[in-house]
Amino acid sequence: MSVFLKNPLALSGLIIILIILILALVAPIIAPYDPNFIDINSILFPPSMNHLMGTDGLGRDVFSRMLYGAQISLLVGFVAVGIATLIGIVLGSLAGFYRGWIDSLIMRFVDIMLSIPTFFLILAVIAFLTPSIWNIMIVIGLTSWMGVTRLVRAEFFSLRQREYVLAAETMGSNHFSIIIKHLLPNSLTPIIVSSVLGIASAVLVESGLSFLGLGVQAPTASWGNILTDGKEYIQFAWWLSLFPGLAILITVLGYNLLGEGLRDILDPKNKN
């Protein structure tokens, strides 16, 4: 734990994430307005005492929308990465444990998925399914499991030959319990790092999708769509671009710092 606190990367990342998490959780309590409250007499007002971050094109309070948007960004991140990690663990374990033709088959599949540029895949699928927050999360999840699979597989390869695994096998434990009890727990490091970094990436992808009109749909607020709504008046309504842009930047930065910091800490090579 003290090692953790000593690593400034991980520490600053964690602090940022905790702040955003807390803000997202207390959004319903501290938001001064209903994020969907339309007030056509207050369209595009700059930040003021009444509206800390100004109002948007329909007079809705941007600060409240940002708070609720935090919920969306985090939700998208967690669920998408959750799906990707789950798939990755399953496929990676199977490939790493059984090797042979199962491994070849799974890796072939990984290669195929990797050769189609990710964003294109997401784009194509979202254009077909109608965009909704669940579809977006599922699609991001379904297109980012390849990295985790490879990591888990690599860990399993190296761990497979350890004595305690061979011992477990000779004692007749079934494959499933070996995977769950011995191999997975020791492969957690890369999985954790990759998940944290994956959340950062998912948040960025959502904002990119919003730019193309395929992100989270109206009237739900997400940082990506607040940013996109304001892009045509960037010289005039700077508050519509500044706050969500900064929010995305800081959140993604936080997750990256935490992820890299964790990698530093958990990687035995960096003890110097």
Partner: protein
């Protein structure tokens, strides 16, 4: 050592490039755009398009970018003047026979194609044959197929005879671009290179088309309607509207369609922009509406539809979404035209009346304030395509309907899925969409009960025998005042039945650089672009081409 050395090389190159960049920077001077200038020819006009034209043969191309460019290159027999009356284009006069089934067009004398060859009625006949040929891949043939017989008694006369008198006929002849027979007679119109290298007869001809980047047109000195003042029209392909706006404010483009917020809020706040860019407002060519799926309960109940009409505050929608830059309507036509029924007015905002009607229809509020009937809440989904204004409109409507206890959800869908998965299959509740209208009042295709097949345009499922009769009559009646009466009655039925809720007819908003002179302001009914051949750029205001970015 090696890597550091290479890196400092990179730095050196970077720094020298920056120097080169700044060395070629223009000095900015203060120019007065408000002086009086004589109209002179020369100069260029740069505008921006979001999409690239696919094919300059308008009858085959389906996209607006193609028809916009083709409209500068080709002529039709007729066109609309600034007050939206029929005016000569290639034809100097036209006469309708007594039995109202034959139209004779008399072409102007001495018409030439851009390559110098004469333009005669043979070209018109050729074009008509082309568009009605079943092998031509055009979606627009149906109007022209109604012509039973077409002939050219002499090189300056073109005669068409219809099976039955067809009132929209003249309108159809304003949009058929006449094509050169001498160039196309042996070509396969569907695959010909002419689509990328056309020869027309109108003000401009194609100079250069750099795929994906810009299309340049230059003045056609053989133009049938006279040579335009501005020598070059350059259309830059800039897909993103925020980039377009940045280019406009940096003086790199001259013309752009802007949105209400830019018109009403951004420009007034920037004195520097107002000095060099002028704003124009004109009546748009369509209207936006909320359409009900008339085959799905509860929308088959007229009381529910009327109630929802009373429950939506149209003025709020116009103020909120368009910042006031639009008009409420009560007839399905462009404001200011004779087809609007002057005795009709939009449903006012009366939530109490809405609730009363809904109660009649069996909906009562429960303890949570939600309207219920037979234990089921009044709940539906509004779908619309990816259009910012429609999205915002749906959001405003959602809020108002929530206030009287209706639960509304919104879904924004990409166009191809929207049309195929929801509209064509009839799998929707309510849509927010718009119609972009032709200037002829005929709306048979949209409202006649026979047009409800898959892929046809009465997708709401509207059926009213009286309306059917009126629409059939209106198509045959060539007398304008009689037609007016027919369509006024049609509008009345439509308003009462309320298959759609008229939301607004938005204004067309443009920003044009002040170097472009000759624009009519306030805009006439046909809009500011109708006389773009009269626009000019005075010499002192022209941009210096080579150093322009």
């Amino acid at each position: 050592m090696k890597k550091k050395f290479l890196f400092s090389n990179y730095i050196a190159i970077l720094i020298s490039s920056i120097c080169l960049v700044s060395c070629s920077k223009e000095t900015s001077e203060v120019i007065d755009y408000n002086g009086k200038f004589k109209n002179v020819s020369g100069g260029s006009l740069i505008n921006a398009m979001a999409g690239e034209p696919s094919n300059l043969i308008a009858m085959i191309a389906g996209d607006s970018a193609s028809s916009a460019i083709a409209g500068n290159i080709f002529n039709s027999l007729l066109k609309y003047d600034e007050n939206l009356n029929y005016a000569p284009d290639l034809a100097e006069s036209w006469a309708i026979s007594n039995n109202q089934k034959t139209i004779s067009f008399k072409l102007k004398k001495g018409l030439q194609w851009a390559d110098g060859k004469p333009l005669t009625s043979a070209d018109v006949l050729f074009t008509w044959k082309l568009i009605t040929n079943p092998n031509t891949r055009t979606p627009y043939a149906s109007d022209y197929q109604l012509v039973k017989k077409a002939s050219t008694p002499d090189p300056l006369t073109f005669k068409v005879t219809y099976e039955n008198s067809y009132a929209p006929a003249l309108d159809t002849w304003t949009s058929l671009h006449i094509l050169p027979k001498h160039i196309l007679k042996d070509e396969d119109i569907n695959n010909t290179f002419f689509s990328r290298k056309p020869t027309g007869s109108s003000f401009y001809k194609l100079d250069e088309w750099i795929s994906g980047q810009q299309v340049t047109l230059k003045a056609n000195d053989k133009s049938v309607l006279g040579v335009p003042l501005i020598k070059k029209l350059i259309s830059r392909i800039i897909p993103d509207t925020s980039s377009q706006f940045l280019e406009l404010t940096a003086d790199n483009i001259d013309v752009m369609n802007i949105n209400p917020i830019q018109y009403q809020r951004v420009f007034p706040a920037r004195k520097d922009l107002q000095q060099k860019i002028a704003l124009y407002k004109e009546l748009g060519n369509g209207y936006t509406y909320l359409g009900f799926n008339l085959k799905k309960p509860p929308f088959n109940d007229i009381r529910v539809r009327q109630a929802l009409n009373y429950a939506i505050d149209k003025n709020e929608v116009i103020k909120g979404v368009l910042l006031g830059l639009g008009e409420p309507i009560s007839s399905p036509y462009k404001p200011g035209t004779r087809w609007i029924n002057p005795n009709l007015s939009p449903y006012p905002y009366k939530p109490s009346k809405a609730l009363a009607l809904l109660e009649e229809a069996g909906f009562k509020k429960n303890n949570d304030g939600i309207l219920m009937k037979n234990g089921k809440p009044l709940k539906f989904e509004i779908i619309t395509n990816q259009n910012k204004q429609r999205e915002m409109t749906a959001v405003v409507i959602q809020k108002r309907l929530q206030e009287i206890g209706v639960e509304v959800s919104i879904r924004v869908i990409e166009w191809a899925s929207f049309v195929n998965r929801f509209i064509k299959t009839g799998d929707f509740d309510v849509v927010v969409l718009g119609w972009s209208l032709s200037l002829d009042p005929d709306q048979y295709n949209i409202w006649h009960s026979s047009q409800q097949g898959p892929g046809q345009f009465n997708f709401l499922g509207y059926s009213n025998k009286n309306v059917d009769k009126l629409l059939e009559l209106g198509r045959k009646e060539l007398n304008v005042s009689k037609r007016e009466k027919i369509y006024h009655k049609f509008s009345k039925y439509l308003l009462e039945d309320s298959p759609i809720i008229y939301l607004y007819a938005g204004y067309g908003l443009s920003a044009v650089h002040k170097r472009v002179k000759g624009i009519k302001n306030p805009a006439p009914p046909a809009g500011i672009y109708h006389n773009n051949y009269d626009w000019f750029v005075p010499e002192p205001l022209r941009r210096n081409e080579i150093s322009a970015r």
